[in-house]
Every structure is written in C-alpha cells, then in structure tokens.
C-alpha cells in the first residue's frame, strides 16, 4: 500500500462524499439563494475531487482513472472522514457539518500549499479560494441560525451535539500521516487542531451554542476500517450507472 496513494484517496474521498451529500439538496433548499450556494459548493467539491482522485490514479499507476476510483470502489475502500458521510438531516445539520469540515479543510489546504509534492501544492492552491468562501459562508450561516430563534438555536445545538463526536477523527494520525509528515508532504493532522478550535469555538459562541464536553471521537472512516452504514447506501445510488453498464462511456 503506497502511503501517498492512500493520502490522496483521503483527500479526494472527503470532497467526493461531501460533494455528493450536498448535491442531494438539489432544488430543496429553504431559500433560493441557498439552492444556488449549495449547488455551487457541491460543484467546487466535485471539481476538487477530479484533481485529487486524478492525481491518486496517476500515483497508483495501475491504469485506473479518477472516475474508476470514484465509481468502482466499494465502501470499504473509501477513505473519507465519517463526518462527511453522515446523512444531511435538516438544513442546519448540513451547514453545521459543513462548517466543522470547512474550518479543518482550510488549515489542511493552507498546509498543503507548502507540500514537498508540487502537484499537491498546486491542487491545494487551486482549492484554497473556494474553501475560504465555503468557510465564510458556513460560519455565517451557523452563527445566524444559532443566534436566530429559539427553535433554530435548539436545532443547531442538536446538530452540534450529534456531529461533535465525528470531529475528532479529523485530527487523528496513523502510519500514513506519519509517512506524509516524514516526507514533508503534509503535517500531522494534530497540528490543525489548535487553529481549528480558534476558528470554531468563537463562532459557536457567537451562535449561542454550547460545545459538548465529551471528547470521544468516532473513527474508522479515513482508515476505511469501519465506515457507517450510510456510505453503502450513498454508493449504491452514486455508482449505479457505472456498475450497471460496465465499460460504457458517458
């Protein structure tokens, strides 16, 4: 198992899976402006996926394409964070998930801009502007909905409570991360934790939300060791055409 390949899958599967979840909102947002913004976010994430998985396929050198990686792997070969495969829930739940990830992703991309691997640095630069915009938007929305009405505050609190145990996985490291750090391809994810908290905690405070005190962290997504039951259902939908009509071009 090539650590660089694994690392790239983690990057690409994160954007793919989150992009897919966001795309499930199509035409069903609470406000027209949000329909536009959600489609735009999904579009950005799918574009980033093409870059990450495209490079992953090159690194693997087995003749697979980004599409092969996206549409012909089963759940256990996916390397996305558990947080990102969580079902959408209500709009607030979706935006809370987005915010917790965006605040991590911005650190991740910033660090990768200085990667010793020039291709990774290039993808990080190309993704950075979009990610900044996503973070601005998800933070504003979380604050607005947390601060809004008592109903919206309660909904956002329950979203935070439900999703918080999935945040910790973003900062866990394994031998893949260690190999990346040793080669100066990427820092250890733990380094993102402090700046992530510095971005997240004030926003949650402004949103009048209580940060859960339990630091238990679900894991098994980025290693692929144990995804949730939700991913398989997502893939059954996402991959249906490639699975049903093997070898066709679209």
């Amino acid at each position: 198992m090539d650590p660089l390949f694994e690392f790239l899958l983690r990057q690409g599967d994160n954007t793919l899976v989150l992009g897919h979840r966001i795309s499930e909102w199509c035409g069903k947002a609470p406000v027209l402006e949000e329909d536009i913004a959600l489609a735009n976010t999904a579009l950005d994430l799918i574009g980033q996926t093409q870059m990450w998985l495209g490079y992953a396929a090159e690194v693997e050198g087995a003749g697979r394409t980004a599409d092969d990686l996206a549409f012909l792997r089963d759940a256990w070969d996916f390397r996305n964070l558990l947080l990102l495969e969580r079902p959408n829930g209500d709009f607030g739940h979706t935006m809370m998930r987005q915010f917790l990830f965006d605040a991590y992703q911005i650190q991740n991309l910033k660090a990768l801009e200085a990667s010793s691997d020039p291709r990774i640095a290039e993808i990080a630069v190309k993704s950075g502007k979009e990610a900044t915009y996503h973070l601005d938007r998800s933070r504003d929305t979380v604050i607005a909905l947390g601060d809004g009405t008592s109903e919206s505050n309660a909904r956002m609190q329950s979203a935070l409570d439900a999703l918080w145990p999935y945040a910790g996985e973003m900062f866990l490291a394994d031998e893949i991360d260690q190999a990346m750090a040793a080669d100066h391809i990427a820092p250890l994810p733990l380094e993102y934790r402090a700046p992530w908290e510095a971005a997240v905690l004030p926003a949650l405070a402004a949103a009048a939300l209580k940060v859960p005190q339990d630091d238990f962290a679900h894991q098994g997504g980025k290693t692929g060791r144990r995804h949730s039951e939700h991913l398989g259902h997502m893939l059954a939908t996402m991959q249906v055409l490639q699975r049903s009509y093997p070898g066709a071009t679209w």
């Binding site: 199509c26 035409g27 027209l32 735009n40 599409d67 607005a144 809004g148 939908t237 009509y245």
Partner: protein
Amino acid sequence: DPQERAFQERIDAGEKIEPKEWMPDGYRKNLIRQIGQHAHSEIVGQLPEGNWITRAPTLERKAILLAKVQDEAGHGLYLYCAAETLGVSRDELFEMLHEGKMKYSSIFNYPTLTWADMGAVGWLVDGAAIMNQVPLQRTSYGPYARAMIRICKEESFHQRQGFDIMMKMANGTAAQKRMAQDALDRFWYPALMMFGPSDKDSVHSAQSMAWKIKMNTNDELRQKFVDQTVPQAEYLGLTVPDNDLKKNEETGHYDFTQPDWAEFFDVLKGNGPCNADRMAARKEAWDGGAWVREAMAAHAAKKKAAKLAAE
C-alpha cells in the same frame, strides 16, 4: 383611453417600459403571470435534473449537471427580481405556486427515467425553451427583456451540453442507444406541447402580442422547433416517434403530427405523471425550511438593532 393609446404607441415604437412608468393593469397582470410562471419553471425544473445528479455516471457529468442546475436557480432569481419590479414579492409568488394558483411549465411534470433523459432535457426541453425565449429578449418590459438576455446565453450552452450527452448515448453501447431512443420517444411530444396549444385555442395570445410580451405565435415557434430538431435527430441516428413526419417540399417545412392535446390539458389539470410529486417536493422544501427563513430574519433584525444601538 388616451393613456393606453400612448402606452401602445410607445410599444409599437419599440420603446422599453420601465418599472416606475405607467402601464395598464392587464399588462402588469399578464407579465406577472408570464414571468412568474417562467420563474417557477426554473425552480421546479431543478427537480427532474436533481433526480440524476446523485446518479451522474462520471465526475465530469456530475459537475456539468450541477453547474446547470445552479444556473437554473440563478435564472429563477433574475426572473423573481423582474417580477418584483411589478409589485409582487417572491414569497407571494411562491404562495401562489404552492396553492396551485400559478403554473410552471408542464414539461417538468414528466419523469426523468434514464441518464439519456438528461440529454433529452437539454436538447429538446432547453431547445424548445430557447426558441420561446430568444424573441423575448426584445420584449417590451425592460427588466424582463434584460433578464432574458442573460438567460438565453446560458440556455444555449445547456442545450449544447444536452446534445453532447445524446451524442455519447446514441454512439454508445446498445443499451445506451436504446436509452437515447427511449428518451426521444418520451420527450418528443411533451416538448412540442411546450409551445402551448394552437393559437386558435390560446387565450392570451392576441393582446399579449400587441403588448410585445409574446413575440411569436405558438404554432410558428413549434414549427421552427420541429424544423430545427428533426435533422439533429437524424444526425444522432434516432427516430422521431411520428410516422407522419415528412419534409414538405413545397413549404420547406416539416409536416408533423400534433401532440395529444387531451394529455396536455390532463397534465395542466394536475394529472401529469409527476405533478403531485413535484408540488410535494417543493412544498416540503418550503415548509421544512420555514424555520431557517425565520431564523435568518431574526438574526438580521438583531444585528441591525445592535448596530443602531452602537451608533
């Protein structure tokens, strides 16, 4: 009425009417109906495509479809803004949609059943829409005309993308070819219906044409669409589902079979294959999002109050 006469003269002279200017009630009402219906069509039109975004067969196709749906929501936004200049709010328009008092294009009451339908929707549905919309860039109401200019640019891009999907399908595996033909079979007549009933049966036509909020007759546009589309179908190697379709060497146009207008009126009445599902999806989105809209308004009000207090 001299005011009305003056108004008509301005229109005849090719002038644009702008929001603050005087206009007849009927003109205003007709425009609201027409622009609102068009806006609703953009919004409801997201649903049949959204149905395949989660199943798009490649990352590229998924991205293209997302961009398209984003454009459509954007078109909805322009059009609601244009309607607002006539004194009706977006929320009022939504309410009328949800209560069944306003329509959206009946084409979106047909289901999208295979990936080829994403091609057919782009090729035929956007194609028919463009045929309707291009002349509306010259419509008499300024904000509407300007919205149409922006919209038409993007729509023709969508149509090319749709045709590109059809090309891939028509030149693909046997199953893909079958999907392409099946999509054409299902969408041909509904696309023809998009131009509305024959002008002799059309209620609003004459006055709307005088006011230049309708620029061509339904039959003219339908014929133009058939003339443009049939050679494209031939190029794709697909068969238009009309045994009587034939180039008329005298007129230079295609003779074709009219769609089943009984079906058209059935769909209009609510009995299309997807009317109930589409409206349920939109109402659920709207009702389910009420708490978000309330919260955003409350937050904005608090921010404004805090700002005032600080001053």
